[in-house]
Symmetry: C2
Subunit: 450 residues, 2 copies
């Protein structure tokens, strides 16, 4: 008997060991991060299944790597050689929707958009909408504290996680948080697990807070001759006290890629397109339009109704698939104070030119959270990596963070160390050791080397 036999004896056909199948569970969407080959993949259907896997693998001292839909962009779900992958995608039950208390209790394998659809029937919404919302799981969203386009007004995943059930490294089941609108009893363990990328425990149930569906949204598109002008417009919108429900920027590279992929009539000669929407009073949209013009927009098109707004935003959703057709990508994720956005955009242009690499920039401009997407070709990997590092350094120099919403995974451990400093790294190690003393939960991810 060995580990895979023990797993199979306990969990039957939920254990996968076919080498061809194992191959498909090796990695997430971070193209350049290393990925090992797991010894086995287990697809649990219940918390009790997860407890069994953690206990059995723990008995052999074998690491566990939890996975959702593997849409992550930092290698956080990548397998290690000889590990057990715990694929949570079969735990897909929406256990409860409580419209009066505005909450839902879900298993981690439920896809983000399925939650949105289910709660919409009750006049409620779960706001966080990462680009992967039609395929990524809520467990993955929680583990990375995923963001999205709504977050500029409504906040990221962590704001909506009221409570968790977590299987700890020793197989004990922890319940955190609550079902109430408020609660401050004890340490905020819920938020500690949110964004911890599977390094502290395996999330098996999530209690999500919900909001009433917002009002009808109406949007605009503004065309800018320089990215810096677009950045300045964003700064003036935020400084002007506006609360847009969406404020997105696409640069020339993305506009061209989208037009080449699925023509939308986008202005490929513009340096940047800014998309804004409001779900409150229309006069707020007029105010935003005026600020765009004042910042140098050459054209501002205000949608006349919700249908036209949806059309404007559809182009934004094409940015990622369109860019993927250009080659392998390093999809970066950096957030700076909104006041520094123009400097970030200018700096990225300069870095791209210096290294002669293509970097398309798209993202959640209203949050200062941009995705510089570096196009990797067969012979430019070192230049791309140098550009990536310079963007990270620029982001930190501008008072920013090395990840606005994608997480650290394997991709950014060194940058996390730089951002945290030695005391912060030491505290991370202390907390990891307190909860996973043997280092068996997603080892090597997030935590920088000591």
């Amino acid at each position: 008997m060995g580990l895979t036999d023990d797993l199979a004896a306990a969990l039957g056909d939920r254990v996968l060991t076919d080498p061809d199948v194992l191959e498909t569970y090796r990695r997430d969407e971070a193209d350049l991060c290393p990925a090992g080959v797991p010894l086995a993949v287990v697809r649990p259907r219940s918390t009790a299944d997860v407890v069994q896997v953690v206990r059995i693998a723990g008995g052999y001292g074998v690491p566990i790597v939890p996975q959702g839909a593997r849409t992550g962009l930092a290698g956080g779900a990548n397998a290690l050689d000889g590990c057990v992958v715990l694929s949570m995608t079969a735990m897909t039950d929406i256990l409860e929707i409580d419209p009066v208390n505005r909450l839902a209790v879900v298993q981690p394998g439920v896809v983000n958009s399925a939650i949105s659809a289910a709660v919409a029937e009750h006049g409620l919404t779960y706001p966080p909408d990462p680009g992967s919302w039609e395929s990524s799981t809520i467990g993955g969203n929680v583990s990375t504290d995923a963001g999205g386009m709504c977050c500029v007004k409504y906040g990221v995943t962590s704001r909506y996680v009221l409570g968790l059930e977590v299987v700890l490294a020793d197989g004990e089941v922890l319940r955190t948080g609550r079902r109430t609108a408020k609660g401050v009893a004890g340490y905020d363990l819920t938020k500690l697990f949110v964004g911890s990328e599977g390094t502290l425990g395996v999330i098996t149930e999530i209690t999500l807070g919900l909001r009433p569906v917002p009002g009808v949204s109406r949007g605009l598109a503004a065309i800018f001759p320089t990215t810096a002008a677009a950045g300045a417009a964003v700064t003036s919108i935020v400084a002007g006290g506006h609360t847009p429900s969406l404020l997105e920027l696409l640069d020339r590279t993305h506009l061209a890629a989208i037009e080449a992929y699925r023509p939308q009539g986008l202005p490929t000669d513009a340096a940047a397109l800014l998309l804004a929407a409001v779900d409150t009073a229309d006069h707020e949209l007029e105010g935003i339009a005026a600020l765009c013009r004042a910042a140098g927009a050459t054209e501002v098109h205000v949608a006349t109704d919700e249908a036209e707004t949806v059309g404007l935003l559809a182009a934004r959703r094409l940015a990622h698939p369109a860019m993927e057709r250009l080659g392998k990508l390093i999809i970066d994720d950096v957030a700076v104070p909104v006041s520094r956005l123009a400097e970030l955009l200018d700096g990225i242009d300069r870095i791209a030119a210096e290294h002669a690499v293509t970097i398309g920039v798209v993202g959640h401009a209203g949050d200062g959270n941009m995705h510089p997407n570096i196009v990797v070709t067969e012979d430019n990997v070192p230049a791309c990596q140098a550009a990536f590092d310079e963007i990270m350094a620029l982001g930190l120099a501008l008072g920013g963070t090395c990840s606005g919403e994608h997480g650290v995974g394997l991709l950014k451990r060194d940058w996390l160390a730089r951002e945290l400093g030695p005391v912060g790294v030491r505290v991370h190690h202390a907390i990891k050791a307190a909860l996973d003393p043997r280092g068996l939960l997603n080892p090597g991810k997030v935590i920088p080397a000591p």
Copy 2:
């Protein structure tokens, strides 16, 4: 040389040892919690001062108890015999207000209302408004994750804490968080310290997120013949998808106490008064008024303008001082799912009758977060404590939490243990041990006995 000599040598007149002075630093406002006598009180003026105190006291193995304005209601700031009290009230600088990025950087001793006043000049607001907002410090607010009346719409303190500077138990200085709107790099250490009541580190600087000032608010007052009817109105308002900016309930005991203290023309024959306000469209207030009538309100008075609204809400601010005139109070704090509010209110009535004690109920009804205030007389302490315990048990039985916003301190350690369960308690101990292995930071608070 001893500890006080070492402290005086390092910190001069910031060290207080006069017994009469020490006596005034023994306790917060939790009347019935035990409090020791400190060996010394230190009033640091800088992070460097705090580091010195932590290192010197640590050298003697002497515990440190951080204090703000001691307006806490759970004994979390109470001194231990022979401890060093670290009173943060002299660190009162607002270090920075950044209106573009909507943030402020403050020292922990700044009073909540001083922050509101300072940022209002920039068209911004710091929403959390605990009852003590004119006297409590932001450091205390962060340490307890304080709530208030705005929180039903705008959330509690933790939503606004972007980053912290914290002196750890070994005297190292940790910086957590960021100045960006979004960021997911590493564990959420910021939220771990928020609400930890000084048991994990001493907060020396706080970066606060701010919001644009909301629109003009307009309110209503609704009179109910039973508390259960008022509770049902609250449930129907929340279930109806409304987002009031305030939704407060006062029971008959509070109405009578306020009228006896400073007459406001409140209906002392009513079982409950519900106050609601909206800062969006007036039609939302009309909708709330209609739901109050449908739930059985005998009278609904809608304010005609903001001035009248302010008048309605002024009565609410008198609830605490008015009740204090009735005697010593056990000010309780329980939150339940909003759907269970009527059951909570009925249950508290029953508990008061069974134990023949006076319990006034006031609180943030829209959050399900109520304050049952038990009036303690010379000869009814056991009855009050029994009533307190029954209210806690009722709150948990209704799916609630033992603290919605006041924290655990000394008052609720046993109830926290019951709420967390044994695995949760174990994780609390593990985190405490990871960050404060010698147990010198506010020992005996929050964490339940193993």
